[in-house]
């Protein structure tokens, strides 16, 4: 009897459990369409973003924690973002460039939705206050042309990002064209063929001592160097000034040209690849970034939030009037020309007007590169040297560029040169790279010394000069000291960029970048992209 009751109880218990499970299944099924299953895993958002949004990371991290959503930011230049959208952007869930123009020019597949401007910040000139005063730019309306005159007459040295790689550079460059044409109603394709304009632009751009692929990094470079001025976002000038003041240095004075440059409207848009869970996660993120809770944090970063007017209650230490920052002023904006004219202007910058590049690639052909390694390397170099391919990323060579390749293992193996952008010359260089086979040990220092010797043969003032070192392992001979000694003795201020690959020692490469004011690019995941980025800085 007892036995039977026990047995019954067990059956009842089992039935009950099955029932409860059934109910859970029904409930979860009926709600699945709305919220996804209750057993769903953590949602991930892959965001393709401009580098100026790097400062938002702490704000994004809070969102990640609160919502159990993971955010992966990939930083690329504006042109690359446009390109990626044109290719369908399958690997990304959202796009966050500096200006909506890159989305509207790139979104040919019509995949972007829920697009909303998160913050705005104007592109401005930041000039050392003493210099601005001396030039008569303080306390009155200044036009872009007034500033350009001072640059042309070498009374003002300035920095800007590459027009073909970064939104702030592109905006400034188009602003220069608009000013040099005496502020026409709109810039036309015919205007760009004007020889006087081209010669003025060439003169002005020759004064840009080192360009950069990203607005954020331009700030770092500016802080390490001694220039009078830079063109950048108001928010980045604010950020720069905070650091300058902390170091006891003179802050930059912000000039909003009367005829206008541009405004970055930082649009965030969802890329619809058909995943509802991601779409919901995205909307949560967008709501969060535009919420009253987050707005003050964005204001602290020097970003303008909410609407163009009634921009009040901003922290006077951030939007500091002593720095020339004026939140009441009507921000005039140059009218953007049509898409065709923008493309033509950017191509002209890349192949004709910019200061020519003198780039030395030191490429690791040591034994460990054998097989896949050297294949990836060849692909990356072919992408840059094949002018058709390079043009899709606006990384073409100009007739005045000089490209030098130094293959090395534990010693320098050869020196290959290509002057100009002639197809045969560049193809020959590609053939050398493609036919060379890796072997031997590694010495990353010897080729750098050779590179500097090669550079010394040119009139460096005429070029944007750089060394790009790519290595897959630790150096087992040579020392950084010889490189530093050589660097000091040449007095040429040559940045040594590095690209990591395989087991390369980041510390060694970072040391080189630190003393030469350059940076290290991660090629471990995507070597081609790292080469593209490094080239974009030069």
């Amino acid at each position: 009897m007892n036995e039977k009751v026990k047995k019954n109880k067990k059956i009842i218990l089992a039935v009950l459990i099955i029932l409860i499970l059934l109910i859970i299944v029904i409930i979860s099924f009926s709600t699945q369409s709305k919220n996804g299953s209750i057993f769903s895993s953590k949602e991930t958002l892959n965001i393709l973003s401009g580098s100026e949004n790097q400062v938002l990371e702490p704000i994004l991290e809070e969102f990640e924690k609160e919502n159990n959503i993971q955010i992966n930011m990939t930083y690329e230049g504006s042109v690359d973002i446009m390109q990626e959208l044109q290719n369908g952007a399958e690997d990304y869930d959202a796009v966050f460039p500096a200006n909506s123009i890159w989305i509207s020019m790139g979104d040919t597949h019509l995949k972007v939705k829920h697009q909303q401007s998160i913050t705005t910040t104007p592109v401005v000139f930041g000039i050392k206050k003493s210099v601005a005063e001396r030039l008569g730019f303080v306390g009155k309306d200044v036009t872009t042309k007034d500033i350009l005159e001072k640059i042309k007459s070498k009374e003002l040295s300035f920095m800007m990002t590459s027009a073909t790689q970064s939104n702030s550079g592109a905006t400034a460059y188009l602003g220069f064209i608009y000013a040099l044409l005496d502020n026409p109603e709109v810039i036309t394709a015919e205007d760009l063929d004007n020889e006087a304009l081209k010669s003025d632009l060439t003169t002005i751009l020759s004064g840009v001592n080192r360009s950069s692929g990203s607005s954020d990094w331009l700030k770092d470079l500016f802080l390490q160097s001694d220039y009078d001025a830079m063109v950048n976002y108001e928010s980045i000038i604010i950020d720069t000034n905070k650091e300058l003041v902390a170091e006891g240095k003179e802050p930059l004075y912000v000039i909003y040209p009367k005829d206008g440059l541009g405004i970055a409207d930082s649009p965030l848009g969802y890329i619809d690849n058909g995943d509802q869970g991601k779409e919901e996660a995205f909307l949560k993120l967008e709501d969060y970034l535009t919420s009253d809770e987050v707005k003050p944090k964005l204001l602290e970063l020097g970003r303008r939030t909410s609407y163009s007017i009634n921009f009040e209650n901003s922290n006077p230490d951030v939007f500091n009037e002593d720095w020339g920052i004026d939140t009441k002023k009507v921000l005039n904006v140059m009218k953007m020309p049509s898409a065709d004219v923008i493309k033509k202007a950017l191509n002209m910058y890349q192949t004709e007007l910019r200061k020519p590049s003198l780039t030395v690639y030191c490429l690791d052909y040591s034994g460990s590169m054998y097989g896949e390694g050297v294949e990836s390397l060849r692909n990356a170099m072919n992408m840059l040297l094949d002018q058709n391919e390079a043009s899709t990323y606006m990384l073409q060579a100009s007739p005045k560029d000089v490209t030098i390749v130094i293959p090395f293992d534990d010693q320098v193996l050869d020196v290959w040169k290509a002057e100009g952008n002639d197809a045969t010359t560049l193809t020959n260089l590609q053939n050398e790279i493609n036919n060379f086979e890796p072997q031997g040990g590694t010495n990353i220092y010897a080729p750098l010394v050779t590179a500097m010797d090669e550079i010394s043969k040119y009139n460096v003032a005429d070029y944007t000069t750089s060394i790009i070192l790519m290595s897959d392992g630790m150096s087992n001979s040579g020392s950084i000291q010889e490189v530093m000694d050589k660097w000091d003795s040449t007095k040429l201020d040559i940045p040594i960029f590095s690209i990591t690959f395989g087991d390369s020692d980041e510390r060694e490469l970072q040391e080189l970048a630190d003393f030469s004011k350059a940076r290290v690019f991660d090629g471990k995941k995507d070597l081609e992209k790292a080469f593209k980025q490094a080239k974009g800085y030069n």
Binding site: I12, L19, I23, K113, S117, V186, D259, S338
Partner: protein, 354 residues
């Protein structure tokens, strides 16, 4: 005994579970998701939670969309879509000309006049110039001809006393070849240039050079009215002094963002051009599911929400009966309306501007 009670409880639970399951499944109609191309200006309406709820609960419809310009969407491949929801008759006519075999059903659901969005200092200057006038102490009307003449005469902002702004007076619009608000605006400007009479195939060639010049001066043109409107609000008077848009855009913005509206309402100005053009919003069904959406969107409650919360005029004449809460400056009727040019003329205009 005890086991009997437990057995009874289980039976009851099973019955409840079945009832709950039945309830969930029968109370709602069969659920389908319809996908299509949507004009940016109607995103707010289609994202409206109450509208989504009515569509889902009453009609079993979940609406998914891809934002596209009205003209762009009829030119795109739409074979995997259930509907297109442009904002113009022209888009529908273009669709009929090129893909009439794909058309399942269509119905004009909303109307909205083209307006000019500008800023208080500019509106004041225009009043001084005798171009704009305030009616009933409530809304602004603009003499379309005089306004457009400012642009064609190459007047500078300083010429009309707006000294904060640099350069020439312009009215920006979306790309007439991609988006409807720009397309409608091009039709309006063409009519004005044709001595305020509707331009047709015999007269269009006379005004094309002038029209091309007018739109050429805009420079970069956005593809979507919602993007242009957002930039107008976010980047301000120096970037977007005057833009052409739909009447509903500001009404919707005011209702959806009351706090933001309070911040900007003394600065933004809606100019009602006289004459203006009507933008009609036809919903084009490409299959039976699309047709279900047409039926559902005609639900009286949705039609009411469309006006009171999103600013789309719904009656045939576009006359409105209810005031929009918190918003002022809306004329009850739009009287001075000029016809859009016919489709062939329109295509000539679009080609001419390209």
């Amino acid at each position: 005994m005890k086991s009997k009670i437990i057995g009874g409880v289980i039976l009851l639970l099973v019955i409840i579970a079945i009832i709950v399951y039945q309830f969930i499944n029968t109370n709602k109609p069969e659920q389908i998701t319809v996908t299509g191309y949507l004009g940016g200006e109607k995103i707010g309406l289609m994202e409206d939670e109450e509208v989504r709820k009515i569509l889902k609960d009453k009609y079993g419809l979940t609406v998914d969309y891809t934002k596209a310009g009205s003209i762009e969407m009829v030119e795109q491949d739409s074979s995997d879509k259930d509907y297109l929801f442009p904002s113009s008759q022209t888009a529908l006519e273009l669709f009929n000309q090129t893909k009439s075999d794909k058309l399942y059903k269509s119905e004009i659901l909303f109307n909205s006049p083209i307006v000019i969005y500008t800023w208080k200092p500019i509106a004041d200057a225009l009043i001084n110039e005798g171009i704009v006038e305030m009616k009933d102490n409530s809304y602004y009307i603009a003499d379309t001809t005089k306004l457009i003449t400012l642009v064609t005469d190459k007047k500078k902002w300083s010429d009309i006393g707006v000294n904060d702004l640099y350069g020439y007076v312009t009215i920006q619009s979306t790309d007439p070849n991609k988006s409807n608000s720009g397309n409608m605006f091009a039709g309006l400007v063409a009519n004005i240039m044709n001595n305020q009479t509707v331009v047709d195939e015999s007269t269009v060639d006379n005004i094309l050079p002038q029209l091309k010049d007018f739109f050429g001066k805009i420079g970069y043109m956005e593809h979507s009215s919602s993007d242009l409107f957002e930039q107008y609000l976010k980047t301000g008077m120096g970037a977007k002094p005057m833009i052409a848009g739909y009447e509903n855009q500001m009404i919707e913005f005011a209702i959806e963002n009351p706090n933001d509206w309070n911040m900007v309402k003394d600065q933004v100005v809606v100019l009602y051009p006289e004459p203006t053009v009507w933008s009609s919003h036809p919903l084009i069904a490409l299959n039976e599911n699309g047709a279900k959406l047409i039926e559902a969107m005609q639900d009286p409650k949705i039609q009411e929400i469309a006006w009171t919360r999103h600013g789309f005029r719904t009656g045939v004449s576009g006359t409105i009966n209810t005031e929009v809460e918190g918003f002022y400056g809306i004329p009850k009727t739009i009287n001075a309306v000029i016809q859009m040019p016919n489709t062939n003329t329109k295509q000539k205009i679009m080609k001419g501007i390209k």
